[in-house]
Symmetry: C2
Subunit: 287 residues, 2 copies
């Protein structure tokens, strides 16, 4: 699989085996390039991975792309919040035309969720949510073994579950959304300090609010597991996860929901590319 991860400040592309092993990896910055120049950098990265595949006699079967939202269904027009050069950029078509491969574009949080279920902390689990807590708060949801898409492909937006009805205003127009309380920028705005040097109180409050959102979501969807990746969550570490698990246990005591767990994502820096490959594989095998 060719895999492409369109992040906020850098792009990564690589070659991933059908077993999920990253065989090559290259990155490039997103700054200092207009829309076309940026796509040129993408094309170069993809070409490099492709040529490695050819040298080693690997057949490349599809291209999977994880990309920040918002986007129209199928990634036909992407407008990643942190890449102002791309607004309604026809990413799927352009990658498809450049590579000649079946190309799938989807939300990067959905990609990561699929990766966690494939090879990460949710491996073997058919009912889980894979979350990311970093600049934003997002996720992807798998129920009955299937990744949920929803009406416009945006299912998984756990960042807009309300955890404090009278809480901070959210960019979405609501108030007290999880993202407005525990994303990196929200924490910095609320405490005056970046999450890297957050107090124990801030870490525990953030974990508790994450647990509260999950208390709503676990019985709603009858999930067994939540994985959490992203720089804020993984940077906070054990006290954050302990607070989340405690709140989840406090809230979700309806019988079928007991025993649900919250765990750190298991793929580290490999997650986004493995997830992009998983999206491609999902499309090819029509899971």
């Amino acid at each position: 699989m060719l895999a492409l991860d369109v992040g906020g400040t850098k792009l990564a592309a690589g070659l991933v085996s059908v077993g999920g092993v990253i065989l090559t990896r290259g990155t490039t910055a997103t700054v200092g390039a207009d829309a076309e120049a940026l796509f040129g950098r993408v094309a170069t990265l993809l070409d490099e991975s492709r040529s490695v595949a050819e040298r080693h006699g690997h057949r490349v079967i599809a291209c999977g792309v994880g990309c920040g939202g918002p986007m129209t269904p199928g990634g036909e027009a992407v407008s990643p919040l942190n890449i102002p050069q791309w607004r309604q950029f026809p990413l799927r078509r352009r990658v498809d035309e450049h590579t000649g491969l079946e190309t799938v574009v989807d939300n990067d949080a959905k990609a990561l969720a699929v990766a966690e279920g494939w090879l990460g902390a949710a491996a073997g689990e058919a009912n889980y949510i894979g979350m990311v807590v970093s600049t934003g708060v997002g996720g992807g949801i798998v129920v009955d073994g299937r990744l949920l898409d929803g009406a416009t492909g945006n299912a998984g937006h756990i960042g807009h579950v309300i955890v404090e009805p009278d809480g901070r205003p959210c960019a979405c127009g609501g108030r007290g959304c999880l993202e407005a309380e525990i994303s990196g920028p929200s924490i910095e705005a609320r405490t005056g300090q970046p999450p890297e040097i957050a107090s124990t109180e801030t870490i525990e409050r953030s974990g508790m609010l994450l647990g509260r959102a999950r208390s709503s979501v676990m019985p709603l969807l009858d999930l067994r597991l939540a994985t959490v990746a992203g720089s804020v969550a993984l940077g906070f570490g054990a006290p954050f996860f302990a607070a989340a698990q405690a709140e989840l246990a406090r809230g979700a005591r309806i019988e079928f929901a007991t025993g649900a767990r919250v765990v750190p994502g298991g793929l580290g820096d490999d997650g986004p590319l493995v997830g992009a490959a998983a999206l491609g594989l999902r499309a090819v095998t029509r899971q």
Copy 2:
């Protein structure tokens, strides 16, 4: 289809055409019978419907059952809260053995949700939640055209979405769950009056809290529509739905979630039996 609805105080069974028309309907009370006597009443109702089918030359292809929870997956052991005679009662097997038909048992709220998507207020919609607000608050969720089951078949429990973090204790052990705030018994406990004579303030507050739960759920699952049935919601009527829609519009302003609607269920008293039939049809056609 043979259809059976196991409610709190009465049981209904009937014959439903594959187009969703109820051809016969019979009911019996649940009180005054032990577990076996109650199943005897069920068997009699099913036999009556069956004999009508035979008299008219209809072929009966399956039996669908909607039943109050909790239950084990597939309805192999049901323990409906309001039918104390049945605890771990093997309902699916008993109906299967009695009728000789392929028999499907599922949560009654999921049944009603499927019915709303088949012939009711969500007809033609692939992403919606069908809710019930009466003695409890439940629901069924359809995403990407598929009814969600979840790990133990309990997906759809919107009653345990937290809407007031410091609200009333819920039977589930949590606090401020939607069910603990707006179910009929919760309203009576909180206000001292049954929902039938609730004040305008109580009606509007209940609608607002329902809208708040939906503000969390609509972007999470990228749904376009929520239908709400049940005696409390339909009894409250227009002011309740207006308050719910207003709160939904206030909360869910993330772009893809705008335009989501809250509407009354469209099937009235026919909903439960049509839903039970829909469950049977779903199983036979493996939707």
